[in-house]
């Protein structure tokens, strides 16, 4: 792939001294939607945290739009254009939906060249219309689906070039999953590159262009999502009953 927006080469990450991912290679093209699929504990979240500078990267290179991220302080990464929705949402409780959307604009808006804060925030409400009349609600009072939308909306508020979504569909009712998938497709259609971590392989084929399969910290397969989703060994792997044989 020429000139990818995100390129991981030989990345090994660790948590509390224990190696989680080994020699991981992954790329996301400009405007592309890519899935990182694997069981719980396979290393998806740690990979995302490594990209965001929140987990120890022991070796390898993580380049975003030509900039090496591993040598940067973590708080500089959002300003480059990487939005992050963590697996457990990590909303700023005690604060309103609106405050959660505005905070990233205040912290990274200058680097992102954002001049009109209200315009950006209203753009997020346009995408997640369900949140428009909840803007003054404190986030701990939201439903699970709404909370996921706030987490994604907060990541979008820096007007990112790359959006990292860690298990955005997990634990949600089917009709909300369908709704959120449409939102993700809309985001991607706007030209924002998306990397989605997902443990349910059946969730991603209609959202992403390519998937990587991660198992025990290593990429074990990659390719067309619909083809891989039909592979019996992938399905078994996702159900936790199989060993991937390649």
């Amino acid at each position: 792939m020429t000139n990818p927006i995100l390129e991981l080469s030989g990345v090994s990450t660790a948590v509390e001294g224990f190696e989680v991912t080994r020699d991981l290679d992954l790329t996301v093209g400009r405007g592309e939607a890519v899935g990182l699929v694997g069981r719980n504990g396979a290393g998806k979240t740690t990979t995302f945290r490594g990209i965001m500078g929140l987990a120890e990267v022991r070796s390898g290179s993580i380049r975003f739009d030509g900039t090496e991220l591993t040598s940067l302080p973590a708080d500089r990464i959002p300003g480059l254009g990487v939005g992050y929705q963590p697996e457990d949402r990590k909303l700023f409780t005690g604060m309103t939906v609106d405050e959660n959307f505005r905070l990233p604009v205040w912290t990274a808006g200058d680097e992102r060249g954002i001049e009109d804060e209200d315009e950006v925030v209203e753009g997020v409400y346009d995408l997640f219309e369900e949140l428009s009349d909840r803007r003054d609600a404190e986030v701990q009072h939201l439903s699970g689906g709404q909370a996921k939308m706030v987490a994604i909306g907060r990541a979008l508020a820096i007007q990112p070039d790359l959006l990292l979504l860690d298990e955005p569909l997990e634990g949600l009712a089917p009709f909300i999953v369908k709704n959120l998938k449409e939102h993700v497709r809309t985001i991607n259609d706007q030209g924002i590159s998306v990397l989605i971590a997902e443990s349910n392989v059946t969730h991603v084929p209609d959202v992403v262009d390519r998937i990587y399969v991660i198992e025990r910290g290593e990429i074990v397969d990659s390719g067309d999502p619909e083809v891989l989703a039909e592979k019996p060994e992938i399905r078994e792997l996702m159900q936790g009953s199989g060993q991937y044989e390649g």
Partner: protein, 309 residues
């Protein structure tokens, strides 16, 4: 029969005492709630504020005002106190950036040992600069006593105490406005709620922590500065405010600014009532209030940032 005017005047005394406690405790609880550091040297920052005030206000009053110049005199005392507190800001910046930052990831025992060591170092520094004897601002002291009192419910009330209430109320409003309404205040709150997620949206957590610690040092110094003029600065003056600040923030809920405000006023008013009605209870009153609150609500009256501070 308890006269109503006595109730009013002792309540007002309690409110004034409560605001002094809040000024001290606000810094302690902000630092605890956001940096997760229990600063044992906080009382010495209070003392340092008082000592710096003794030099600054003494010089200002001596140079420009006579103690009988009324409102102008009070404004000079207030400006001197704010200046003295401002001196605490670089002290706070240094303590956080150089000494505390390297040990955040370590066990809390390291923080306690370090801040206790700071308590001793600051006390020795005060002794070195101002000497071991208490410092009284004679001119300011007599000036404050010479100020006309105000009449409240048919009783007289010292003007300086009224000034402390007004300033305390203004600081309270300012602090809540800062944390609830300003961008920087809300970024600080977000950092307190989840420092890793704050980093992930672009917050420079190191810089935020330095700002917060300097702010805490400022308010400790300001409390010392405001509390000094009617009394005297002495080497042991940091101990009681530290202990009472702990009582206040335990009552209010560790790390809660709202809790510190309610806790300080509760301790202030009830302690003054106890001193009036049962003088033997003066020292025990704050701890008795704390014990009752802990029995009813062990986590304190309010939650920390993120739990609705």
């Amino acid at each position: 029969m308890v006269a109503l005017e006595n109730v009013a005047i002792h309540t007002l005394n309690g409110v004034q005492y409560g605001f002094v406690l809040f000024l001290i405790a606000s810094g302690l609880t902000i630092i605890l709630g956001i940096l997760d550091v229990l600063n044992l040297a906080h009382g010495e920052l209070f003392a340092l504020g008082a000592y710096v005030t003794s030099s600054l206000v003494g010089a200002l009053v001596g140079a420009a005002f006579t103690p009988d110049s009324g409102l102008g005199f009070l404004l000079v005392v207030l400006a001197g106190s704010a200046l003295a507190a401002a001196v605490l800001v670089p002290v706070g910046l240094f303590l956080e950036a150089v000494l505390l930052r390297p040990i955040y990831e370590r066990d809390e025992v390291y923080q306690l040992v370090l801040t206790f060591a700071l308590l001793l170092v600051i006390k020795d520094a005060i002794k070195y600069v101002w000497g071991p004897k208490p410092v009284r601002l004679e001119g300011v002291y007599s000036g404050i006593n010479a100020l006309a009192t105000v009449s409240i419910a048919g009783r007289t009330f010292p003007t300086y105490k009224l000034l402390i209430i007004v300033v305390g109320a203004a600081v309270t409003v300012g602090l809540f406005y800062f944390f609830e309404r300003t961008k920087t205040g809300r970024i600080v709150r977000a950092t307190a709620i989840d420092r890793e997620m704050a980093t992930a949206i672009g917050v420079d957590v190191d810089r935020t922590f330095t700002l917060v610690f300097a702010m805490g040092a400022f308010f400790a110094g300001f409390a010392g500065a405001m509390a000094l003029p009617p009394t005297q600065a002495h080497l042991e003056m940091g101990a009681d405010p530290l202990v009472l600040s702990f009582v206040v923030i335990v009552i209010g809920g560790l790390g809660s600014l709202r809790g510190a405000f309610v806790g300080a006023l509760l301790v202030g008013v009830l302690t003054r009532w106890a001193t009036w009605l049962y003088p033997a209870m003066e020292l025990a009153a704050p701890f008795a209030i704390m014990a009752v609150v802990l029995l009813v609500k062990p986590e304190g009256l309010f939650g920390s940032w993120g739990e609705r501070a």
